[in-house]
Subunit: 404 residues, 2 copies
Amino acid sequence: MKQIEGGVCAAKGFTAAGVHCGIRKNRSKKDLALIYSAVPAAAAAVYTTNLVKGAPLAVTKAHLQNGRAQAVICNSGNANTCNANGVEIAEQTCALAAGALGIAPEDVVVASTGVIGQPLDIAPIAAGIPPLCAALSADGGDDAAEGIMTTDTVKKEAAVEFTLGGKVCRIGGMAKGSGMIHPNMATMLVFLTTDAAVSPAMLQRVLSADAADTFNMISIDGDTSTNDMVTVLANGMAGNAEITAEGEDCAAFAAALNAVTTALCRAIAGDGEGATKLLECRVDGAPDTATAKTVAKSVICSSLLKAAMFGADANWGRVLCAIGYSGAAVDVDRIDVAFTSAAGTVRVCRGGAGVDFSEEKAKEILLCGEIGILVSLNAGEASATAWGCDLTYDYVRINGDYRT
Amino acid sequence: MKQIEGGVCAAKGFTAAGVHCGIRKNRSKKDLALIYSAVPAAAAAVYTTNLVKGAPLAVTKAHLQNGRAQAVICNSGNANTCNANGVEIAEQTCALAAGALGIAPEDVVVASTGVIGQPLDIAPIAAGIPPLCAALSADGGDDAAEGIMTTDTVKKEAAVEFTLGGKVCRIGGMAKGSGMIHPNMATMLVFLTTDAAVSPAMLQRVLSADAADTFNMISIDGDTSTNDMVTVLANGMAGNAEITAEGEDCAAFAAALNAVTTALCRAIAGDGEGATKLLECRVDGAPDTATAKTVAKSVICSSLLKAAMFGADANWGRVLCAIGYSGAAVDVDRIDVAFTSAAGTVRVCRGGAGVDFSEEKAKEILLCGEIGILVSLNAGEASATAWGCDLTYDYVRINGDYRT
């Protein structure tokens, strides 16, 4: 397996585009993105568990019932959630895109991200779809990734190449992250494409399993969005024997998918709203995976720890505090904690109590852009990783006047 | 029932004091507080559910097994948590205070608040106890309230006077709040005193029931501290017939206690770390109290909503989002939301969808210091209230370099 360029267009047969259609006031910001597969593809998705769900999710869920799709359309600037006519608008969007592409509306996946509770006008979308379709290109992955950004500061793309039964396959993806991110089942918006041939049922199974270890292990701010969705399209154009069951090919595909989703997770967490640092909490020595995940996620969610990381303060008591209230059954007196980064590693707690450490060295470690928080429970063999970011002035600034 | 002055010294027979003993570097900050009852008192307490517990909690729990206590000693500046010799230090503190007061060490309640994981030296405490005991006075409530402050910006005291069987009784209290506050079972540190006669068992029952509706409904930052504790001493000096069972007297006592604890809750939430505003979420029309509480607390905990309130932005979609991920079974299409304050009330959502409202009026309402977030589920008769505060630059500043 190797990393490649191209994002959602890395896999054979996929083209993409992104344009400004007018949902956002700022004309320099793209607000409509399209991904298109030359042939119908197997499709799977996972969605937010929030009871308040964006209208596009309901429409996408209905469209994916047959496990097939050929295009994905997504707007930014408006979440199309808590709107009386939201479903109607989402369906119109699919119909307009389908008409322009010459495919069935049911083969279109639709997604939206932005403000909740403001009516979404179909006019700019209707006007934007013709130029959007005209712009579709194998080089359009970047534009599409730009079209789904809200408070994101960087585009988030990843892709890998791997082989299945001697056939070269690719998986690529793009993501929209930043705020209201504490996925539970899925995350923000992630669009994955592959030219591997995978049956819809296996695609769903691999995606669901992967999301539990990747997107569901991110938290930016503890807020599970109404519009979270991860979707994958597999068009089979790589020519491999279709994956229809567990086995070697399925494992190779799952590993390749995981490489892409993990890269996107790190990109999403590192670009959390206002973030200056990517935090990665690795928990090992847990009695089971569920415990490891609970602990890792609790640490990554602690506002106090996040603020301490912003300040490069090795306040490890906040790590223990977050483990203690996580709900996991842990033996506090066995817990070891260390901080690590490109600048080195410092052990700060052993057996639940502090150890002498150099504050100077700790500061140096915590001033790096990627911080590892290493927790050993010393109570078993299971492990888990969660990703988050620091809590900064800019998070407050961004969310203090998001709508204005 | 009427509000009175005096805090923990409002009730007959209670004296208090607060001094600087040297745990904190800043000599102008008091760091040791004492409450003393002229006669032994019935005592009850509720504690944090965090598995990582401060050593003082273990010692206090042991001391309160007989339901009796006569003094409370509390230091700030160090939480005495995750320290190898923590229990020893807490026991020494009790023994030193008991010696100076001429009572049994088992009749002393001990508490600590401050940084986790830094050894607590007994020397400043040993040196501070004699002047602390010498300073005990019926006017000492303020000094004691000052002695337990960490990042609190204001002292938090409350007291009421009420009658039981013709006897005038009083309940007073003080609290330490600010950060790492998301109580679960108890809260930060709250010390309550009353001259009413109440049996230890009834005192515990009334306190536990009250904490579930008051302190457990506050969140500053979602972090359940390792040292949360609420304790109440009832010395019986008002001369009422001892309350030993449910009934009219018990209800009157519980109502008086609730008046004090609610006032302290509002004070704690309004003085959350960095807070500029007190948020009060009132949920009604719930099918049951548990649902109402879950919804109210989820709203008050949303980082996104807290930041929006800081920015006086009527971003009600974040209220719905927080309700949706709360875990409560709600019918989204029945939810109404309004914002209220001294400047008026504005309805922003009806039946799960937005309604037209004046952004100008909403801004005016949200610029006030106390904001009500009114949620109607329109699905029953139960209600609940939760308290929190806005998320501000200062929260990040305070917690970015807490230890330095």
